[in-house]
């Protein structure tokens, strides 16, 4: 039997235009011990979305106005891309929806057993926590790079490509001593010891994507 979970800060945000279903899912998840917030439409939920909110979204796929897939897309563009679990009333889930399953989200029918729903919520919570941590790390890393001046960033981009000071000076049309000065400043501001460490940090922050890393470049 399901044990009541200790109170936690994560919230399940439920979005469904069918008030009757909305209420029944809210009741179930509350009874199990989750903190729940219910919304009758996607736009209502998005209007309340704040960066500090953690947990996951459980949404109906078919809704008048903004549907579930559109809600998911809007979340992804937002500063707080919470994981989304789709519930659908469809008996046979259409092929398009099946294809979406390759993504990270869960698709459940509205009449799926409770255990499946609860497991999906747990997975989504874990994913949210993980992604949230990664986002925070990345952010603090990027803050360190933010301290560099425009010229220092320029020099850095040449350094991580393994170019010599003399070449960099020629490329940027500046004095070789000035290049050295910039390098000293960079290592001091980023508190790194070696070029190898510098390269790793730049990679982690995804600062200068090399051609091929990102098809858009």
């Amino acid at each position: 039997m399901t044990a009541t979970l200790p109170c936690r800060s994560e919230t399940v945000f439920i979005v469904d235009d069918d008030t009757s279903f909305l209420q029944s899912v809210s009741r179930l998840l509350r009874a199990v011990g989750y903190t729940v917030q219910a919304f009758a439409s996607a736009s209502e939920f998005l209007a309340r979305l704040a960066p500090g909110m953690s947990g996951c979204v459980v949404t109906d796929l078919q809704m008048p106005g903004m549907n579930g897939l559109e809600l998911q897309a809007a979340l992804r563009r937002s500063a707080n891309p919470l994981p989304v679990i789709f519930l659908t009333g469809q008996g046979d889930i259409p092929a398009t929806v099946n294809a979406m399953r390759s993504g990270a989200e869960d698709f459940l029918t509205k009449r799926a057993p409770k255990e499946e729903l609860l497991a999906a919520v747990e997975r989504a919570f874990q994913r949210d926590a993980q992604e949230r941590q990664q986002r925070e790390q990345l952010q603090s890393l990027r803050q360190r790079f933010d301290e560099l001046s425009q010229r220092e960033l320029e020099v850095l981009s040449h350094v991580v490509q393994g170019r010599m000071n003399k070449q960099i000076a020629a490329d940027l049309n500046i004095n070789e001593r000035t290049v050295k000065l910039h390098r000293t400043n960079i290592t001091r501001k980023l508190a790194v010891q070696s070029v190898a460490e510098l390269t790793r940090l730049v990679d982690e922050a995804g600062l200068f994507p090399a051609p091929g890393d990102n098809p858009a470049t």
Binding site: M1, T2, D18, S20, F21, Q23, S24, V25, R27, L28, R30, A31, V32, Q62, P64, N67, L87, T88, G89, Q90, G91, D92, T109, K110, R111, K114
Partner: protein, 626 residues
């Protein structure tokens, strides 16, 4: 509203008493002034006014005060009299608050335009007229609406030929005034459609000479009474006066254009039905009284009459009742044939007995044919059933969704209740609320199933009185979830108050559902933001209700337009090509028609019509209003 609130305050008082109090307490009744061009005793106007008042009072009981004024223009036609009448009205109603003016202008539109505009500016005006004149443009400037009923001359000539196919000559009796000449002109125009029939226009004989003249008309002739506002001697005759003088003495049947003339010995005609006209005018007046602006309501010009005959005249001229067209009204039929024709029936039955043997033989043949006909009908029913089931198949995934919604809610609620009951001190109030919700969702699921089941049933034709509004709304509800899944915006617009039709509910639903699903199919390639489907119910001028389903889809290719209603014609990869063919069979069996038109800039509108039930028959279906 105010009356309702007061009514509630005095809810302890008996009804009639409460109403009297309401009026004493100063809730103003509506004041309606009726202005007639004629004198008080014009038969057509009496029926018209009665029906109009009845219609208005049925909705607004005890809350309308009517005043009537008569210009009596037939007897006093000089300018001075009109001026006196206007002065009289101005003085009499000075300081009175009028809510509506209803004008029976006959042929004088000044009564509906200039006069009320000068005396009662700002008071809305509704008129109702039976004439052949063009509605003057100027009247529209005054913010006036109304109904003009034309004489159905074409329909009356058609009825004459139907009742008496041997007719060779029509004697038309008419007058000399402008109005008389306008009516005669229209009769002459319509006469050209009847080849080989001779038309005589008697306009130069004083009415006093006519009774003698119609006494000896030869067989194969009929008399048609036009209007005689002035005969050659300048005398005025009402249609009913003419009919009463001529019909009883004429040697041939007499036909008329106004329904109020029936009973005077005439056969009938495709006539102006004063009661129906009064009812329609009453409905229009109510709309204005309830706040609609007259200038927003177009002036209706009705041209279709009601076939109406006097049963006794049919007997007199030996015209078979079976010749009266379907939908025709037969007046003055005695209660039982037995009372009237006991002897005739006894004699006939002995003749019938002698003929029985012959008939028995004929019957055997006839039965064979009947069986064949029944089989065809059964096949058609079967086909309609198959088409219906396939239509439902298209809907089934959407319906699954609609069913899974309440079923899912029931499951989640049950699970929640289980968990609640496992705790040490279960919250029983919450559990009770859950059980109530489960019950409600169960009903919701049941409703979906009921709606499906009526459509799946295999059945024969059943004709009933149907409220078209409910029928449309239920059908749209069936398609609603499918529309949501396909991102189609669906809307319904129903303009008549309570449109009633005769028909088979399931079959009509099938037609509408088919059109709605077709419309959604046609929009598969339309961008989502533009996918919209509109179902509209309108009333046409000739007494039909029109249901239109418009989409913004790909439209019909011009080459296909001629074939879409043919069986086995389809443009869909999986289509059977029977939907529209069956729809047409069904609609035509209901006395209507169905057609498709291209919309500009895009899409198609499918429209079908159904004969509207007459208001007096439909009354039982009207919503009750305070």
């Amino acid at each position: 509203m105010a009356a309702l609130i007061l009514g509630l305050m005095f809810f302890g008082v008996p009804d009639s008493h409460a109403q009297a109090l309401t009026n004493e307490l100063g809730v103003p009744a509506k004041r309606v002034l009726m202005i007639f061009n004629e004198s008080k005793d014009v038969p057509g106007n009496i029926l018209l006014e009665q029906a109009l008042r009845a219609e208005m009072q049925q909705v607004l009981t005890n809350r309308i005060e009517f005043s009537s004024e008569y210009l009596d223009a037939s007897h006093f036609s000089d300018v001075e009299h009109f001026r006196l009448f206007q002065d009289y009205l101005g003085k009499k109603y000075a300081g009175q608050k009028l809510d509506l003016i209803i004008v029976f202008p006959s042929r004088d539109y000044r009564l509906a335009g200039e006069l009320p505009d000068a005396l009662f500016p700002g008071v809305p005006v509704v008129f109702v007229a039976v004439n052949e004149m063009e509605v003057p443009e100027a009247i529209r400037k005054h913010g006036v609406t109304g109904i003009v009923q034309r004489f159905d001359i074409r329909g009356t000539l058609g009825l004459i030929m139907r009742l008496q196919p041997d007719t060779r000559r029509v004697v038309v009796i008419g007058g000399k005034s402008d109005v008389d000449r306008a009516t005669l002109g229209r009769i002459a125009e319509a006469s050209q459609a009847l080849e080989g029939i001779e038309f005589d226009f008697w306009t130069n004989r004083p009415v006093a000479e006519l009774p003698d003249a119609v006494k000896s008309l030869p067989e194969g002739t009929v008399v048609l009474l036009s209007t005689v506002i002035n005969d050659v001697n300048g005398q005025t005759f009402y249609m009913s006066q003419l009919a009463q003088t001529l019909a009883p003495v004429a040697s041939v049947p007499v036909y008329v254009l106004g329904g109020w003339v029936l009973g005077s010995g005439v056969v009938g005609g495709s006539v102006v039905d004063s009661e129906d006209l009064g009812t329609r005018a009453g409905q229009l007046a109510l709309r204005v009284l309830n706040g609609a602006k007259p200038e927003d309501l177009p002036i209706e010009v009705a041209t279709k009459g009601t076939p109406m005959v006097d049963w006794r005249a049919l007997q007199r001229w030996g015209i078979k009742e079976s010749r009266v067209p379907a939908g025709g009204v037969i007046r003055y039929r005695p209660q039982t044939l037995w009372d009237q024709h006991k002897n005739l029936i006894l004699v006939s039955s002995s003749v019938l007995l002698a003929q029985a043997i012959t008939i028995a033989g004929l019957l055997a043949q006839r039965r064979k044919r009947r069986w064949a006909e029944a089989e065809i009908l059964a096949q058609r029913m079967e086909l309609a059933h198959v088409a219906r089931v396939s239509t439902m198949g298209q809907l089934s995934s959407a319906l699954t969704h609609e069913l899974n919604q309440p079923l899912g809610a029931i499951l989640r609620n049950a699970e929640a209740a289980e968990i609640l009951l496992q705790t040490d001190q279960p919250n029983l109030d919450e559990v009770r609320a859950i059980l109530a919700d489960i019950r409600r969702d169960d009903r919701r699921a049941g409703d979906v199933i009921d709606r499906m089941r009526t459509l799946f049933k295999r059945r024969s034709l059943v004709s009933n009185r149907l409220a078209l509004r409910n029928l449309v709304e239920e059908t749209v509800a069936l398609a609603r979830s499918d529309a949501e899944a396909r991102q189609v915006k669906m809307s319904v617009q129903i303009s008549p108050l309570s449109p009633m039709v005769w028909g088979d509910r399931v079959q009509l639903q099938q037609v509408l559902l088919n059109l709605i699903l077709n419309g959604m199919d046609a929009m598969d390639a339309t961008p989502r933001s533009r996918r919209s489907l509109v179902v509209q119910v309108r009333e046409t001028k000739d007494g039909y209700l029109q249901v239109a389903v418009s989409d913004c889809g790909t439209g019909i290719a011009p080459d296909d337009a001629a074939h879409i209603f043919e069986p086995f014609f389809t443009t869909k990869p999986n289509g059977m090509g029977m939907g529209l063919a069956i729809s047409r069979t069904i609609i035509e069996a209901h006395g209507g028609d169905i057609r498709a038109e291209r919309n500009t800039p895009e899409g198609t509108t499918f429209t079908f019509t159904l004969p509207r039930m007459k208001p007096e028959k439909a009354k039982a279906g009207l919503p009750k209003t305070h």
